[in-house]
Symmetry: C2
Subunit: 135 residues, 2 copies
């Protein structure tokens, strides 16, 4: 099902704002924050407000079309679905390295409590070469 059909089916409008955010995220590997998205989409829609960005991201996330990433403990970051988002973060300086590798695990259904799994995210942590020196 195409996404526009899906939204029509759900009785939800795929408004220009929503499309703009979706297309900004499509293929985007930079894990932007809401603020980043706001700044970019605002060029096209100067009247758009931050709350609309948050609202929209929530809607798209609920529909499974956008991923909320939890790499950065300070703020939420977002990305398209269907791209692996695995990261390695330094405990000290928060430097983040992308791990371009996909991990496929399955969980025994006894553990999933009826969830429909849509993806996973593996976060490695440790100390980067700079911070290793004095720990």
């Amino acid at each position: 099902m195409r996404i526009s059909d899906k939204y029509r089916y759900l009785g939800i409008k795929l408004t220009p704002q929503r499309l703009a955010i979706l297309s900004y995220l499509d293929g985007n590997r930079s894990h932007p924050s809401a603020e980043d998205i706001y700044r970019s989409v605002r060029k096209e829609f100067p009247t758009m407000s931050v709350s609309t960005v948050y609202n929209t991201l929530d809607v798209l996330k609920e529909k499974g079309d956008v991923q909320e990433l939890t790499i950065d403990p300070r703020k939420k970051r977002y990305g398209p679905v269907n791209t692996p988002h695995n990261h390695l973060m330094c405990n000290k300086c928060r430097h983040i390295v992308d791990i371009n590798k996909e991990f496929k695990f399955t969980l025994p259904s006894s553990m999933t409590e009826g969830f429909e799994l849509t993806g996973n995210h593996v976060e490695f942590f440790g100390f980067c070469s700079n911070c290793r020196k004095k720990q």
Copy 2:
């Protein structure tokens, strides 16, 4: 190296407050927030302030003795190192299920950019049985 020796070696004081937080987290599987830790440790140290909790957690984290967890996008949560913290979260209602399974894998050193790895965290996401009904 014992932790007290390590801290002496680093020229850092393992103060009563720091010890209290360390021991509160030791073996703790409830992924408490800074607030939770504050409320608990305050019983023993009534004068302790929230900023001390945050400072202390930062120090302990930098030293690799405490893990900052990113399960909950609303606030930071903390846990002892060396315990697996894997989760399954609903994209819609944010319901979180603990996955009591340990995933052990390594990364090829070509990907780690000189990091010293100390752990990992696997987060599964999807839709819980309630939210599956209307997506």
